[in-house]
Amino acid sequence: MTFSPELEAKFEKLLKSYPPGRQRSAVVPMLLYAQDELGSVTGELVEEVARRTGITPLEVNEVVSYYSMLSRQPRGKYHIQICTNISCLLTGGEELWEHACRKLGIGNKEVTPDGQFSLEEVECIGACSWAPALQVNYEFHHHMTPEKLDRLIDNLRKAV
């Protein structure tokens, strides 16, 4: 399996970040960085990460099923993650979530038919003092309102 030169360089650096014989440590970062490039954690990727870190595909699969950011299903180009945990709940996170579902016509962990957007209701993302908050892929958006969300989605649609 081949990856982009940037990702190959990242893998090489990662595998050198841990002491000799401890390359298994690179499994979670490798999976996440590869998912960013491939769109999901595929069976082929699991085999490849297992091969490069010297563990079995089963051991890699055990890891994949544990971490909430790793996904075997492809997500939208823009993965919108809305926090509804306590601080966001108190400041309108739930209304924001419902608004996003209506606006995009999809539910939790679903993808729009054109593959551009996916939605996920997430747990605390560490933006409690600037709630309600969401992330589009890795980008934070603070102090959100349904109106701001509309503008955000409309702008992303234009960019598509």
């Binding site: 440590s25 970062p29 563990i55 544990y66 945990n85 709940l89 992330q135």
Partner: protein
């Protein structure tokens, strides 16, 4: 970046460089006393550094409040095994958003804290375990690390001291449980983040079963100031046994939510009214979760309290990770309890049965009560079920789920009872999704 206006009541020690132009850069750091503490630590030697840390009364900022100097002292410096420094940057306790700021605004302060830790315990490798959602923070840290290598603040023979130290960032991939130190170590070893039974503690058998110093970002970030200005000066900022300042993350129903650095022991009511601008909309204060979602809730009348580890423990709550969640008179306590339980049920790793099953059934019970389908016996059942989880799990996640639930039921029993036998939620018409 800063996401809220600072308060004039702040005492800026760890956040003193926040807002300076290019505060992430090595030059800005050096221009404001950067890496002086490391040079001083090397002159002092490990024993004196440890002593200074103990004098500072710095207590773990991740939530447990364990004295940092004592924790470092448990590491067997002369062990023939390699030793490691691990930073817990898996910030995930709901209500907490401070480590993000410390890393993005002053990454070198954290690196210097790690260097000093490495010097004290004779470790030569450090890892910063950052939650996966903080990708941009990892990029900032990586740039700071690269800059430190280029200018000789990391790598071989640092500043001619003969001390070698390497630092690497490591991304998580979505797991609250990995913020628990033993689960974090499992995750850093490339496994599922399930906790280890302790003892042995990480100081003795941590990463790769080797002695490991493991602290929160804020704890490491406090070390340079302590060594530079002295442990006594840091201690004097706080209250007895609770040295220094800490970053309080105020969220919820206040006019000016934000992260503010305040002395340990700052009064909670003053924090809400004077630092955070009071309860928004002129409403009355109903309750405060003082230290992140696992901390038992305080009723409004309990909020005239000193925000330090010991005063909160005396009030049967916790200072935790500094997440102050403020709730006004219109907040449904059943809904708050349910949302918090949904979180713990989602994040329970499933390793210990009392936690895995307990969180699930508590979620179901709380949802039933909130939807109006509860009966009289459900209210005491919630409390009893939660009490039966306490102390019966490898890691504190089970307790973290049980403790706030017990407090919600005991302190707001009448609200739970107002939801029973088909009654609609007194605070809203539509039920929260379970």
């Amino acid at each position: 970046m800063l996401y809220n206006e600072p308060s004039p009541l702040e005492v800026k020690v760890l956040t003193r460089r926040f807002g300076l132009p290019n505060s992430q850069s090595l030059d800005t750091y050096l221009a404001s006393d950067g890496y002086k503490a490391f040079r001083k630590a090397v002159e002092m030697g490990p024993e004196k550094v440890l002593e200074e840390l103990k004098v500072s009364n710095l207590r773990g900022r991740g939530g447990a409040g364990f004295p940092t100097g004592m924790k470092w002292g448990f590491v067997p410096r002369n062990s023939p095994k390699p030793k490691y420094v691990v930073v817990n940057a898996d910030e995930g306790e709901p209500g907490t958003c401070k480590d993000r700021l410390l890393m993005e605004n002053d990454p070198h302060q954290l690196l210097e804290g790690m260097l000093i830790a490495g010097f004290v315990v004779d470790a030569h490798v450090g890892y910063i375990y950052v939650r996966g959602e903080y990708r941009y923070v990892i990029e900032i840290l990586d740039r700071a690390i690269a800059e430190a290598y280029e200018r000789g603040y990391l790598g071989k023979n640092i500043l001619g001291t003969g001390f070698d130290f390497d630092v690497y960032t490591h991304t998580g991939a979505g797991s609250y449980e990995c913020g628990e130190e033993s689960a974090l170590l499992e995750s850093l070893e490339g496994k599922r983040g399930v906790p280890r039974i302790r003892p042995p503690f990480p100081a003795v058998a941590g990463l790769y079963q080797c002695p490991t110093v493991l602290n929160n970002v804020e704890s490491f970030s406090a070390v340079p100031a302590i060594i530079r200005d002295g442990g006594a000066a840091f201690a004097a900022l706080g209250t007895p046994k609770n040295g220094g300042t800490r970053l309080f993350c105020i969220s919820g129903h206040v006019n000016k939510p934000g992260v503010y650095e305040l002395p340990m022991g700052f009064n909670l009511l003053r924090m809400i009214n004077e630092v955070a601008g009071g309860v928004r909309g002129g409403k009355k204060l109903k309750a405060v979760i003082p230290g992140g979602s696992s901390c038992p809730v305080l009723k409004a009348e309990e909020c005239d309290i000193s925000m330090d580890f010991d005063s909160l423990a005396k009030a049967k709550s916790m200072l935790g990770s500094g997440g102050v969640i403020v709730m006004d008179e219109d907040t449904c306590m059943v809904k708050a309890a349910l949302r918090i339980m949904r979180f713990y049920q989602h994040e329970s790793c499933g390793w210990c049965i009392p936690c895995r099953e307990g969180t699930l059934w508590l979620r179901k019970l709380l949802a039933r009560v909130h939807e109006g389908g509860g009966t009289q016996s459900d209210v005491p059942l919630i409390g009893e079920l939660a009490k039966n989880m306490l102390g019966r799990t490898f890691c504190p996640l089970g307790d973290a789920a049980a403790m706030p639930t017990i407090a919600f039921v005991e302190k707001f029993r009448e609200e739970f009872e107002a939801h029973l036998n088909g009654a609609p939620c007194p605070f809203e018409s539509k039920p929260v999704s379970a």
